[in-house]
C-alpha cells in the first residue's frame, strides 16, 4: 500500500478484534473530503421545491428577513457539517485475506463483508469535482451487493493501489505479494476517435428522435395552451433526454480506450468524469453485438456485455466490425464469431409474419448465438460455460406449425432465445445444449484465475 495519507491515520480508534486465532485487521478511513460529497443535497431539495411551486417560493422569500436567513444558515450549516463529519468518522474499511469489510452507519450500523473471490470487477471513477479535489471513487462489483458498497472518496493514488490490491487478491496472489504486484500493465487494444464517436451518435435514431421530440412537443404545447409553465414542465425533461442521448453520451464515451492486462480488459473513458473500469476474464455472461441500421454501410458495431453483479453494459460504443470482433475474442477466450447462422423454417411466417426473416441462430463449440432484427440487428452470444439452464417452450399455435423456442438462461438475469426452430431440431438442441454447457464448464478457467 502507499504510505498512509491524511486518511490513513486511525489514531484513537482501535482496530476491530478478529475471531480467535486471527490477527487484528487494520481499519482505514475514507478521504477527509468525503463529508462534502453530499453538500449539494440540501441545495437540490430547495431547488426542487422552487421548481415545484414557484409562486409559493416567491411569497415565502418576500416574508423572510435577513436576520431569519442568517439564523437559518447558522443552524443548518453546522448541523449538515456535523452530520457529514460524523458519517465520515463512522465509515471504515479493511482488507483481510479473504474479504473487504466496509463498516458504515451513524445510528444504524451496517457492515458489508465482500468476499474477494466473488469480486467481479473494481472500478475507479473520478467525477469532475473529485478530479479537482484529487480524489476518486472505488466501486466494487460483486454478485448481490448494492450501491452502498462503494468507497467514496479515496485519495487518487490510494484508490489505484487499493484497486490493484483487491484485484490481485481476487486473482489469487498470496496476501504478502498482493500489495507489491501493483497494477498490471495494460496493452491498448482499441481507442475510439472522437470523430467516429460523434458521427456514430449522429447516425443513431435515438439522438434524432429525442431531439425531434424536444423541439416538436413544446412548440405544439405553446400553440395550444400558451402557458409558459406547462411548456417548461414538458420541455425540460425532453431537452434533458435529448442532451443525455447526444451530448451526454458523447461526453461520457469520449476517448473510450479498451486495453488488455492480466487482470482483465481495462476501459478508460470520459471527457469530464473519468472512469477506469475492469472486466475480469471469465466473468462475462453474455455479449451482444448491436448493429443499428445507419451504421451498417460503415460496418460499425456497438458491443454490449453483461457481467453478473455489475451494471456496466457497454464494452465498445462504436468500432469497425473486425476490430470489435477481435476485442470480443479477448473477452470470451476461445470463441470464434459464428459465420454461418441458420434461418428459421419458412413456415415460421405464420407465427410472426415479418420478423421471422430476422431470426437467425447458430451454435459453435464455445457459444450459443442468436441474431434478431430486420433493420437494426442484434447478435447475442452466450458461452456454453455460462449457461445456467435450458428451456424449450411451445405454444399451441407453434405446435400446429411444428415449431418451438429454445431459451438459454445465463447469469445476470439474461435469457437468449432461439425463436421458432423446427420442433425436432429444438428438442435435439435442448439435450445437446445441456451436454455442451456441462462440458464447457469443465474446461472453463477457475474463479481465481491466477491460480489456475
Amino acid at each position: 500500500m502507499t504510505p498512509p495519507g491524511p486518511d490513513g491515520g486511525i489514531a484513537g480508534h482501535p482496530p476491530v478484534a478478529e475471531r480467535a486465532g486471527h490477527a487484528p485487521v487494520a481499519e482505514r478511513r475514507l478521504h477527509p473530503v468525503t463529508p462534502f460529497r453530499r453538500a449539494w443535497a440540501p441545495v437540490a431539495v430547495l431547488a426542487g421545491w422552487g421548481m415545484h411551486d414557484p409562486d409559493g417560493v416567491q411569497a415565502q422569500l418576500a416574508r423572510l428577513t435577513t436576520t431569519m436567513l442568517l439564523t437559518g444558515l447558522a443552524v443548518l450549516v453546522p448541523l449538515a457539517g456535523l452530520y457529514g463529519f460524523l458519517s465520515w468518522w463512522c465509515t471504515h474499511y479493511a482488507v483481510t485475506d479473504s474479504e473487504l469489510r466496509i463498516r458504515t452507519g451513524l445510528l444504524f450500523r451496517r457492515t458489508a463483508h465482500i468476499r474477494l473471490e466473488r469480486v467481479q470487477a473494481v472500478d475507479v471513477s473520478r467525477p469532475l469535482l473529485a478530479r479537482v479535489a484529487g480524489v476518486a471513487k472505488l466501486r466494487i462489483d460483486v454478485v448481490g451487493t448494492d450501491d452502498k458498497d462503494e468507497l467514496a472518496f479515496l485519495g487518487e493514488r490510494e484508490a489505484r493501489a487499493l484497486r490493484a490490491e483487491l484485484l490481485a487478491r481476487a486473482a489469487g496472489f498470496a496476501p504478502e505479494t498482493a500489495r507489491e504486484v501493483g497494477e498490471a500493465p495494460a496493452r491498448e487494444l482499441l481507442r475510439v476517435p472522437p470523430r467516429e464517436l460523434a458521427l456514430s451518435l449522429l447516425l443513431t435514431g435515438a439522438t434524432w428522435g429525442s431531439l425531434g421530440a424536444a423541439l416538436v412537443v413544446p412548440t405544439v404545447l405553446w400553440l395550444t395552451t400558451h402557458s409558459l409553465w406547462t411548456v417548461l414542465a414538458a420541455a425540460l425533461p425532453l431537452v434533458g433526454t435529448a442532451g443525455a442521448n447526444g451530448v451526454g453520451r458523447f461526453v461520457s464515451e469520449f476517448d473510450w480506450t479498451v486495453g488488455e492486462s492480466q487482470d482483465g480488459l481495462r476501459i478508460d473513458r470520459g471527457l469530464l468524469d473519468r472512469a477506469h473500469e475492469t472486466v475480469p476474464p471469465g466473468r462475462v455472461q453474455t455479449v451482444r453485438i448491436v448493429e443499428p441500421l445507419l451504421w451498417r454501410r460503415r460496418h460499425w458495431v456497438r458491443v454490449e456485455l453483461d457481467v453478473a453483479g455489475s451494471r456496466k453494459s457497454v464494452l465498445i460504443p462504436v468500432a469497425p466490425r473486425a476490430l470489435a470482433e477481435s476485442v470480443v475474442a479477448r473477452v470470451l477466450p476461445g470463441v470464434t464469431m459464428p459465420r454461418r447462422l441458420s434461418r428459421v423454417p419458412r413456415r415460421a411466417r405464420w407465427c410472426t409474419p415479418v420478423r421471422w426473416r430476422g431470426y437467425h441462430f447458430a451454435v459453435t463449440d464455445a457459444v450459443f448465438a442468436t441474431r434478431s432484427g430486420l433493420l437494426g440487428r442484434t447478435l447475442c452470444l452466450v458461452p456454453h460455460a455460462k449457461v445456467q439452464s435450458v428451456r424449450l417452450t411451445q405454444g399451441p399455435w407453434e405446435r400446429l406449425w411444428l415449431l418451438a423456442d429454445v431459451h438459454v438462461d445465463a447469469g445476470a438475469g439474461k435469457t437468449v432465445t432461439a425463436r421458432l426452430r423446427d420442433a425436432e431440431e429444438a428438442a435435439r438442441l435442448l439435450g445437446e445444449q445441456a451436454e455442451r454447457s456441462r462440458t464447457g464448464r469443465r474446461d472453463a478457467p477457475p474463479d481465481r484465475w491466477m491460480t489456475g
Binding site: Q388, V390, R391, T393
Partner: protein, 157 residues
C-alpha cells in the same frame, strides 16, 4: 429426443384433489360475488352471470387432470429434467452444478393433503424449475440428492 430411455416420475394424485378444491372454492366465491349483488340490485335475470364462473370451473375441472398428467421430471446423470404443460408445453434442463439453492416448501393446504413443492434456484433469475405435488419424503430425498450432486459438480458463475 431426450427422454426415451429415462425414468420419468410423475406427481402425486392428491395434487389433482387440491387443485380441484381450490377451483371449486374460487368458483363459489366469484359466482356469489357476481351473482348476488347483480341479482339484488339489477334484476333476478342478471344473477345468471354467476353461471360464468361455474362454467369456467367445470371446464377447469376437466383440465386439471390433463395438466397433472403432463407434469413429470427425471433425474439424469448430470442434470434434472422437468417437463410440463399441455397447450403451452415447457421443458427445462437444469445442470446439477448450476444449482445455487434447493427449496422445499409446503403450505397449510398442501400439508393437509400430504404434498410438498421443490424449487430450484440458479444464478439466472429466468430459471423456472419448480416441481409441485410431491410426497414430502420424496421431496426431501430429491432435495438431499440435488444438494449432494450440486456440491459434487459445483461450478462457479
Amino acid at each position: 429426443m431426450p427422454g426415451d430411455e429415462l425414468e420419468w416420475r410423475g406427481l402425486r394424485p392428491a395434487l389433482v384433489r387440491v387443485r380441484r378444491l381450490l377451483l371449486v372454492v374460487w368458483a363459489v366465491v366469484f359466482a356469489a360475488g357476481a351473482g348476488v349483488p347483480l341479482g339484488l340490485l339489477v334484476g333476478p335475470a342478471w344473477a345468471a352471470v354467476a353461471l360464468l364462473p361455474v362454467a369456467l370451473a367445470a371446464w377447469g375441472w376437466r383440465l386439471v387432470p390433463r395438466n397433472w398428467r403432463s407434469w413429470r421430471y427425471a433425474e439424469r446423470a448430470d442434470d434434472l429434467l422437468i417437463s410440463r404443460g399441455v397447450l403451452w408445453h415447457e421443458e427445462t434442463v437444469v445442470p446439477y452444478g448450476r444449482m445455487q439453492l434447493v427449496e422445499v416448501t409446503s403450505g397449510p393446504l398442501e400439508r393437509r393433503f400430504g404434498l410438498a413443492t421443490v424449487q430450484l434456484h440458479t444464478a439466472a433469475a429466468a430459471t423456472d424449475a419448480t416441481i409441485p405435488g410431491l410426497d414430502p419424503a420424496e421431496a426431501e430425498r430429491l432435495r438431499d440428492r440435488l444438494t449432494e450432486l450440486g456440491e459434487a459438480r459445483s461450478a462457479g458463475l
